[in-house]
């Protein structure tokens, strides 16, 4: 509970012209205790925000790594209340954004969720399968809460839709850098600059870019175009293979690359 309302905005302001590293971690992977250590480790290793993913049985926007971590977390008995407990116990010095598919939080109760997430110390929420305009009631519930609503923009979001896609967004805009599911790729898209510029034309919010960024070199390239860089699968692979120490090492290297 170290951050006040709109802590995301405050954090960007504190960053000034520096770029932000935003790790994504699946809540409860590889288990509750190490998941807690993982959140603290990325914060200690130089991350500026952290996305904590609520595991869902049918993660249709995710590639193999996050499918595996999600499955493992569910087998460990991860639930929405346990995710909130994790966020609360993390007592994170950097803002936490809860990333989730809609159904687990809908089942928990949307008004109850935004209240409990805020009480647990979360700063924002990102709903993977709730594009702007899809469900005004759910969007209003988030907007009426103290949580920032992080919106996604995709390469397929055309100019006509772009304004809708960012309407009501707060905190930052998350640019999906390429078509496809989450997971490591070989290169950063060549048109990233143009994609970011397109978003800057319709919003003053910072732009973070994600999907497929895994190495420090890619992160550095992405940071030249955008305000923030999200890395998920690569960090989860490091956590799976080399434990929290491995996660911390890669986070440090990524942070150095992003912060320049």
């Amino acid at each position: 509970m170290s951050e006040p309302a709109s802590s995301i905005k405050a954090r960007w302001r504190a960053l000034g012209t520096s770029r932000a590293l935003i790790p994504y971690l699946t809540a409860g992977f590889p288990d509750f205790t190490r998941s807690l250590e993982a959140i603290r480790a990325v914060a200690a290793a130089g991350a500026d925000f952290v996305e904590v993913g609520v595991p869902f049985s049918d993660p249709l926007a995710d590639g193999p790594t996050i499918q595996r971590t999600t499955q493992a977390a569910l087998e460990q008995g991860m639930t929405v209340p346990r995710v909130l407990e994790l966020v609360r116990k993390a007592d994170s010095p950097i803002p936490i954004i809860i990333m989730t598919y809609l159904n687990p939080v809908l089942s928990f109760g949307m008004p109850r969720f935004v209240e409990a997430a805020r009480a647990a110390g979360a700063a924002g929420v990102l709903l993977t399968d709730l594009p702007a305009g899809a469900d005004p009631a759910v969007e209003q519930t988030v907007r009426d809460s103290a949580l920032d609503l992080i919106r996604l923009v995709a390469p397929t979001t055309d100019d006509r839709r772009l304004e809708t896609a960012v309407s009501g967004a707060t905190g930052f805009v998350y640019l999906i850098s390429r078509l496809g599911v989450t997971g490591a790729r070989d290169t950063v898209p060549a048109d990233l600059d143009a994609q970011v510029r397109r978003i800057r034309a319709v919003t003053r919010l910072p732009v973070a870019v994600g999907f497929g960024i895994s190495t420090p070199a890619q992160a550095a390239a992405a940071a030249r175009a955008a305000d923030g860089v999200v890395v998920g699968s690569a960090l989860l692979d490091a956590l799976a293979q080399d434990g929290v120490a491995g996660l911390e090492r890669l986070t440090r290297d990524l942070a150095a690359a992003v912060h320049g």
Binding site: A61, D129, P131
Partner: protein, 406 residues
């Protein structure tokens, strides 16, 4: 014989709020942002096509000359004697490829052409939708990739080979329960990746808008034909129309023509699997509660934490934890009665229709027959059952389950 006409299709939109793609509260577009453009494009292309008489003329000609429509209705006297009422079957099993699925895949492949998309993907459970998709892709010279759960590929080997014969690539899905739900996840992942070149032919009245309404519209030919055939050949409307419900496309196809006939009772039959007291069933409307899954809000088999629960049915085509959003609406409004029958009852009905009438039903359709056979009926009842597919694909499975050796 009635045929597809603009007027017929437009009439159905009384049920739908086109602006939001909702059926009451159900439906919607709950998808990753990446897919929104494709859904808007598809909805736009469909709205243009459905007001274009050339579109319906082309589809009608294909349904007549390629699929073999209209399919007949068949009186089944020996089954009727057993249940004590008149029973009529709508023979979707007689369509080319052996099930109703091709009504939809033909309609959607014409839409794909209008969008200049030359790569087609599909999910398949029983393999019937996969076969129907592979068929139309061969016919139109399009690349075809079908996602199918590893477990279903084992259960439906024959259909897998049929798809491959027609040039499709069948991709085994090894995640989750290795059935229809996971095949749909994998197809959606492919679509997110290849959305600019690829059309996803969803096989049922599920998924994000506009899929539930366009699949219903393409399947509504079943109901329009059946209603006219009943009036022409029997002289009255049925008192009851029965169809099996997995995702619910054959049921929406036949129900859609009778929704305004208030005296006609509509019954959707879900799969109770090993029994409603067990966790091993696929009766989403009977035992689920509303949730968001595969792009729409509808009833869903889920646990207390909103995690989707694996479904079970002896019939791969019904083995799905979701259901079309229009069915959710028709359940809530009470217009359709939803019931469930077990694997055992379906297998008994499969055997009964084979022995009594010389018709092997798909195990999916056998659920509808099983519900009709469940109780002694009033003699003045006139029951129309949608026989959505033929049972050849299930013969090996039935043999395995009943201990027969082939």
């Amino acid at each position: 014989m009635p045929t597809c006409s603009r007027a017929d299709v437009n009439l159905k939109d009384v049920m739908t709020n086109l602006a939001t793609g909702r059926f009451g509260p159900y439906g919607g577009r709950y998808v990753p942002e990446t897919l929104m453009h494709a859904l808007e494009e598809l909805a736009g292309v469909y709205d243009t096509a459905r007001n274009d008489s050339r579109f319906w003329a082309e589809l009608e000609a294909l349904l007549k000359n390629y699929v073999g429509r209209p399919t007949p209705i068949t009186a089944v006297p020996r089954l009727s004697a057993q249940v004590g009422a008149s029973v009529i079957l709508k023979r979707e099993d007689l369509n080319h490829t052996g099930a109703h699925k091709i009504n939809n895949t033909l309609g959607q492949v014409l839409l794909a052409q209008r969008m200049h998309k030359r790569r087609i993907i599909a999910e398949s459970g029983a393999g019937q939708h996969g076969v129907a998709t592979a068929t139309v892709c061969a016919r139109f010279g399009l690349e075809c990739v079908v996602y199918m759960g590893e477990e279903d590929m084992r259960r439906q080997r024959l259909n897998v080979y049929r798809m491959e014969l027609m040039g499709a690539t069948v991709v085994p899905v090894t995640s989750g329960t290795r059935t229809l739900k996971d095949a749909t996840n994998e197809a959606l992942r492919d679509w997110v990746t290849n959305v600019t070149t690829t059309h996803y032919i969803i096989g049922s009245v599920v998924g994000p808008d506009p899929f539930p309404r366009l699949v219903r519209d393409f399947q509504s030919v079943i109901g329009r034909e059946a209603r006219a055939q009943m009036l022409e050949q029997i002289g009255r409307l049925p008192s009851t129309v029965v169809a099996c419900v997995g995702g619910g496309s054959n049921a929406m196809g036949i129900f859609s023509a009778f929704l305004e006939d208030k005296a006609v009772r509509l019954v959707g039959v879900e799969a109770a699997g090993e029994g409603m007291k067990t966790q091993r069933h696929a009766a989403t409307l009977a035992a689920g509660r509303p949730g968001v899954f595969h792009g729409s809000l509808s009833y869903l088999l889920q646990d207390g934490d909103g995690q989707v629960q694996p479904a079970h049915s002896v019939s791969a085509g019904l083995d799905y934890p979701g259901v079309g959003p229009e069915h959710a609406y028709l359940k809530d409004t009470g217009r359709v009665l939803y019931e469930a029958v077990t694997d055992r009852e379906a297998l008994d009905a499969f055997a009964a229709l084979s022995r009594l009438e010389g018709i092997l039903p798909a195990l999916e359709s056998a659920h509808a027959i099983a519900w009709v056979m469940r109780a002694k009926r009033a003699s003045d009842e006139l029951i129309l059952i949608n026989l959505s597919g033929r049972g050849d694909k299930d013969v090996a499975m039935v043999a395995e389950l009943t201990g027969a050796t082939l």
